[in-house]
């Protein structure tokens, strides 16, 4: 972007010269020299609020102490963050914050990672003159399905309130009452509930807002932290996975993840972890004999699978594999590699409504924020939750115009225009500036119409995938490219008895495919069906061989997000004994045929090469069409998907509204 060179300003902080762009706030400038100015209410993503007053600094020439969070730098400014005057003001603030604070650190989840503890130790007076009883306020308040509020611990920094307004656009949280009686509550008294509530537990500098999933579970120093990417949808937010003695107890956002998550997580990404330790996880291969599953060993499983493939070939029956939109790139690549090596061309990652995952040219999430007009088609808010936060930012804070084409789910609470087709969308967008299209990849005709209509404006294009790594699966070649059958044809032919073996990877079409009935027929009519799964899903139940799979937290690999970035996923958790990754399963199968496999270096190189090349396709391109037309649907919830949510009782209460399965 051609912008005028930013004007730089020179100042001194604690005697150290600093040079920063004009307009920089002192809190940010001090970070340049690694000098900490403590903050409670200020947050890089929320901006200054001037409430807590802990960020006091002295600016020479100004009689009063200034707040570092709302004082911009000026040329020649001389700032002190550590002198006696500052220390006395700051320690007074900390002393005041503790006047009514319950100091129940021993039973507070925040203990060990609490800014009040840390600053009180670092900058506090270390003694108290309080001779009166502390004010008592409600504790253990059930704020909503995700969060418990301890009002006594609140320092009224209003980060939660501001997040709810500025970032989530919800305005559910407010400060009620006033003065020392003020409390955090929802304005209506209804439960605090939307797709992003968990973020306030991280923003809360103290233990006032805690997640129900993590309450009383751990101390931070007992946690083993792994930085990874969320694989619960295709946005790919960076996240920390915190494991305590073999159990994933929480996931946390990565504050400086500006490129992907902007520092946030949605509630699914944060809270849908209960399934990992669910007792009904599959841990042994299951083989169906006389209508009953029996437990078998992995060697037998591979042998049976290989034999079925050989039998099918001998009988002139077809072999096919479906799914892959939830596999890692390495697994998707190997799936295509092994199948093609076995002469199988009937491959398709698609098993749902989405028919296309790659928009042809990459555009970053950050670029989306700066579009003047954003055209969406599909329930983007639920498909790509944290990307939706960028759309909120673009519209409510950067003045972008939002145009919704066709059925796009619940109407947002901010300005937008609803239209029914691409032509109307063209009328509704701003006449000037960049256009971004975010489409759900379902209705190909609509995708093509949007591409054609906006071609002259060179739009940024994004496809918000239903499955977390649909783009990766597509890039890795899990498409019926060389004359194979697409998934609707595979299903139809298999239902007519044309297939000998059908394998499903990370897919549960009987639950949520638009052609679920045909798929059911296909699984029934095919003599040998293999399903790799975490749980005994509807599709697994219909299979001949069920292979227990590792979850995304239990294996390492890469995925491709909506913007085309190649993201690492790092194993943070031990898988249950007996489960294998899909990669390991494919290797096991390949060994049955003595197939030469790529080395891990070759695999990585192949993945990187394919990920780097966006598929040369336009939105709605014909080659992604299917033989059978499918009804695109756009109403969904972030809690839809492969069905892992079904294995955590709490999740039912987190859903914003009842979700019709397969609707």
């Amino acid at each position: 972007m051609a912008e005028a060179a930013t004007e730089m300003v020179k100042l001194t902080i604690d005697g150290v010269p600093v040079e920063v762009p004009k307009g920089t706030l002192l809190v940010e400038a001090a970070k340049k020299i690694k000098q900490e100015i403590p903050v409670y209410c200020y947050h890089t993503k929320l901006g200054p609020a001037g409430l807590c007053r802990v960020c006091l600094v002295e600016v020479e020439g100004m009689p009063k102490l200034q707040i570092g969070c709302n004082t911009p730098v000026a040329d020649g400014m001389v700032v002190h963050t550590r002198n006696e005057k500052v220390e006395s003001g700051r320690s007074m603030i900390l002393e005041l914050l503790l006047v009514n604070h319950p100091l129940d650190c021993p039973i507070c989840d925040k203990g060990g990672e609490c800014d009040l503890q840390d600053y009180a130790m670092a900058y506090g007076r270390g003694a108290s003159d309080v001779a009166d009883p502390k004010q008592s306020k409600p504790k253990g308040v059930d704020l909503g399905p995700t969060i418990v509020l301890d009002e006594e611990r609140c320092v009224v920094c209003q980060r939660c309130v501001r997040f709810d307004d500025i970032i989530a656009g919800e305005r559910q949280l407010v400060v009620k009452d006033r003065g020392h009686n003020d409390i955090i509550a929802t304005s209506t008294g209804d439960p605090y509930r939307h797709n992003f509530t968990g973020n306030v537990t991280e923003l809360c500098p103290v233990g006032a807002l805690t997640s129900k999933t993590y309450r009383f579970k751990s101390r931070p120093w007992d946690l083993n932290r792994t930085e990874t990417s969320c694989t619960q949808c295709a946005v790919g937010c960076r996240q920390f996975a915190d494991v305590r003695y073999g159990t994933l107890v929480r996931t946390m956002s990565v504050e400086n993840d500006d490129a992907i998550s902007d520092g946030w997580l949605c509630d699914r990404g944060r809270y849908n972890i209960g399934y990992l330790g669910a007792p009904e996880r599959l841990t042994q291969p299951l083989y169906k004999q006389n209508g009953q599953f029996v437990q078998i060993g992995w060697d037998d499983a591979f042998a049976l699978w290989a034999k079925a493939i050989n039998d099918a070939r001998a009988a002139g029956k077809a072999v096919g594999a479906l799914g892959g939109g939830r596999l890692f790139n390495e697994e998707a690549y190997l799936l295509g590699y092994v199948m093609r090596a076995l002469g199988v061309k009937n491959l398709d990652w698609r098993t749902g409504r989405q028919l296309q995952a790659s928009p042809g040219a990459n555009a970053s999430y950050e670029a989306l924020e700066n579009a003047s007009s954003i055209v969406i088609a599909g329930d983007i808010a639920e498909l790509a939750p944290v990307l939706w936060l960028r759309i909120i930012k673009a519209v409510t804070r950067k003045g972008a115009r939002l145009v919704r084409v066709g059925a796009c789910g619940a109407a947002p609470g901010f300005a937008h225009t609803d239209v029914t087709n691409a032509g109307e969308a063209a009328q509704a967008v701003a006449a000037e500036g960049g256009v971004a299209i975010v489409w759900d990849g379902a209705d190909l005709a609509l995708g093509a119409a949007l591409a054609a209509t906006f071609a002259s404006r060179s739009p940024l294009a994004y496809i918000a995938s239903e499955q977390s790594n649909a783009r990766g699966a597509e890039a890795m070649g899990l498409l019926p490219t060389d004359g194979g059958a697409d998934f609707t044809k595979i299903a139809a032919d298999a239902a007519n008895g044309a297939y000998g073996v059908l394998a499903l990877f990370g897919a549960n079409p009987l639950r949520n495919a638009p052609n679920a009935e045909t798929m059911r027929g296909a699984l029934q009519a095919t003599p040998f069906t293999v399903v790799s799964e975490l749980f005994m899903t509807e599709s697994a139940q219909a299979a001949t061989l069920v292979l227990p799979a590792k979850s995304a937290f239990e294996k390492s690999g890469t995925v491709i997000d909506i913007a085309g970035d190649l993201l690492p996923v790092n194993a943070s958790l031990q898988a249950p004994v007996g489960a294998l990754s899909d990669l390991e399963m494919l290797i096991g199968l390949a060994q049955q045929f003595d197939l030469a496999l790529p080395t891990s270096e070759e695999l990585d190189a192949a993945v990187i090469a394919r990920a780097a090349k966006p598929l040369a396709a336009a939105l709605g391109e014909a080659r992604y069409a299917t033989s059978e037309p499918l009804a695109p649907s756009s109403s969904r919830s972030i809690w839809d998907g492969g069905g892992t949510c079904a294995h955590d009782d709490r999740i039912a209460t987190l859903r914003r509204e009842p979700v019709k399965v397969g609707a």
Binding site: G50, L51, R53, M92, V99, A131, D132, R178, H180
Partner: protein, 419 residues
């Protein structure tokens, strides 16, 4: 006696609420003249040259305040502050109820001066009667073609909306007021940006006190020089002083600025027989007390600052020797603890803490260490707050603890000695 009736002229003598009575006494002449013959810049210049300073509390020069408005083509707002909730201040609602057309004329002149086409007056919710009177004044002035569209046929449009507050003392702080006026929670905004840059609905805004705007009328009538000739070097004109407390005739008295503290007490009838003078709180609940040695100070902004206090809103509370200073201190601190919006730490926690401690003192359960704590904490929290309310908790308390320490010490609990 130097009582000089300028704004208060006619009050109690004629029914100034009647627009024809007001007009018969020369009312709306300045407005007519401004609309027909003066440019906005003329009004602004008169305001500036008169030396008029804000009568709402801070005493900021009104002309300077107006001059901060940027010329950026955005709509500008004039907001008149009639929240008047500070204990001891009772001049604005008197003007509102007794001479509403003068207040309205002042608002119109101010709005015209800054180039505003929609002015607001924020009236404290409890002033229901004042609101009704003022709303009638607006209606009558509209019927007379003095406001609304095409004023007096000149093509000028200025609307005035009276808004009833629903809030608290903090809605008198100008940015708390703007939030409340916008329908938000009445809590002060972080500054900068100041209202002149981003005020009501994010637009350039001036917030002025009722009395401030009302003085525009006599300033235009008699000239800026007339106003500037009265008063002291940097404090010009007249001031309505709301005298209360231990005097024989409490009430609003309009005096030339610079009248001495002693004279003001005398104007209000002096002390009751047999009592002796102890202190005056000269600028509202947020000001420190001044004492005998200050009795001959002129009542102006600079001298009150020199005496360690301030002129503030002109609420002048007199205390005699019967005062229980511990109770008075609790009363004052309790007010601020109760009215704190709770946004910022020092005000929210500090006020409440001091209140609890003083409460114990009143009950005779003070601790010796409390006295040090009161001095230490009250001395530190001022200046650390988001708005001036938090800086108002301490001045009165500190001034009386320092002046009358024996009253506080007498309430310290007997130390328990181990048997």
């Amino acid at each position: 006696m130097p009582v000089t009736k300028v704004l208060t002229a006619g009050i109690g003598e004629a029914d100034l609420r009647d627009i024809s009575v007001y007009r018969a006494r020369g009312g709306y002449k300045q407005w007519e003249r401004a609309v027909r013959d003066l440019k906005p810049a003329d009004v602004m210049e008169a305001c500036d040259k008169s030396g008029l300073r804000g009568r709402g509390g801070a005493g900021f020069p009104t002309g300077r305040k107006w001059s901060f408005l940027p010329n950026n083509g955005k709509p500008r707002y004039m907001v008149c502050n009639c929240d008047e909730a500070e204990p001891g201040t009772f001049k604005d609602h008197m003007l509102l109820e007794e001479t509403p057309h003068l207040v309205l004329e002042g608002i119109l002149l101010g709005a015209y001066g800054i180039g505003c086409t929609h002015a607001y007056i924020y009236i404290r919710g409890e002033f229901k009667r004042g609101y009704q009177i003022f709303q009638k004044a607006i209606d009558d002035a509209r019927a007379a073609g003095l406001l609304g569209k095409n004023i007096l046929g000149t093509g000028l449009d200025i609307e005035v909306t009276a808004h009833r507050g629903a809030g608290a003392y903090i809605c008198g702080e100008e940015t708390g007021l703007l939030n409340s006026l916008e329908g938000k929670r009445g809590e002060p905004r972080l500054k900068p940006p100041f209202p002149a840059i981003a005020g009501l609905y994010g637009m350039p805004t001036v917030v002025n006190n009722v009395e401030t705007l009302a003085y525009l009328v006599p300033i235009l009538e008699k000239g800026a020089d007339w106003f500037a000739s009265v008063g002291t070097e940097r404090s010009k004109g007249y001031k309505i002083v709301s005298v209360s407390g231990h005097v024989q005739k409490p009430g609003n008295y309009e005096v030339p600025i610079g009248t001495t503290v002693r004279e003001i007490i005398e104007i209000a009838g002096g002390l009751r027989p047999g009592r002796t003078f102890a202190a005056v709180q000269p600028g509202g609940q947020s000001s420190a007390c001044i004492f005998e040695e200050h009795l001959d100070y002129p009542y102006d902004y600079e001298s009150m600052a020199k005496a360690g206090s301030m002129l503030g809103s002109g609420a002048f509370t007199v205390f005699d020797d019967t005062t229980d200073w511990v109770k008075a201190a609790l009363n004052s601190v309790r007010f601020y603890a109760h009215e704190s919006c709770g946004q910022c730490t020092p005000c929210r926690e500090g006020g409440h803490w001091l209140e609890r401690v003083l409460h114990r003192f009143v009950e005779g359960r003070g601790l010796r260490s409390d006295l040090e704590m009161i001095r230490r904490v009250s001395g530190t929290i001022t200046g650390l707050n988001l708005c001036a309310l938090g800086d108002s908790i301490e001045p009165f308390l500190k001034s009386v603890v320092n002046r009358f320490p024996e009253q506080f010490e007498a309430r310290v609990m007997q130390e328990l000695t181990p048997a």
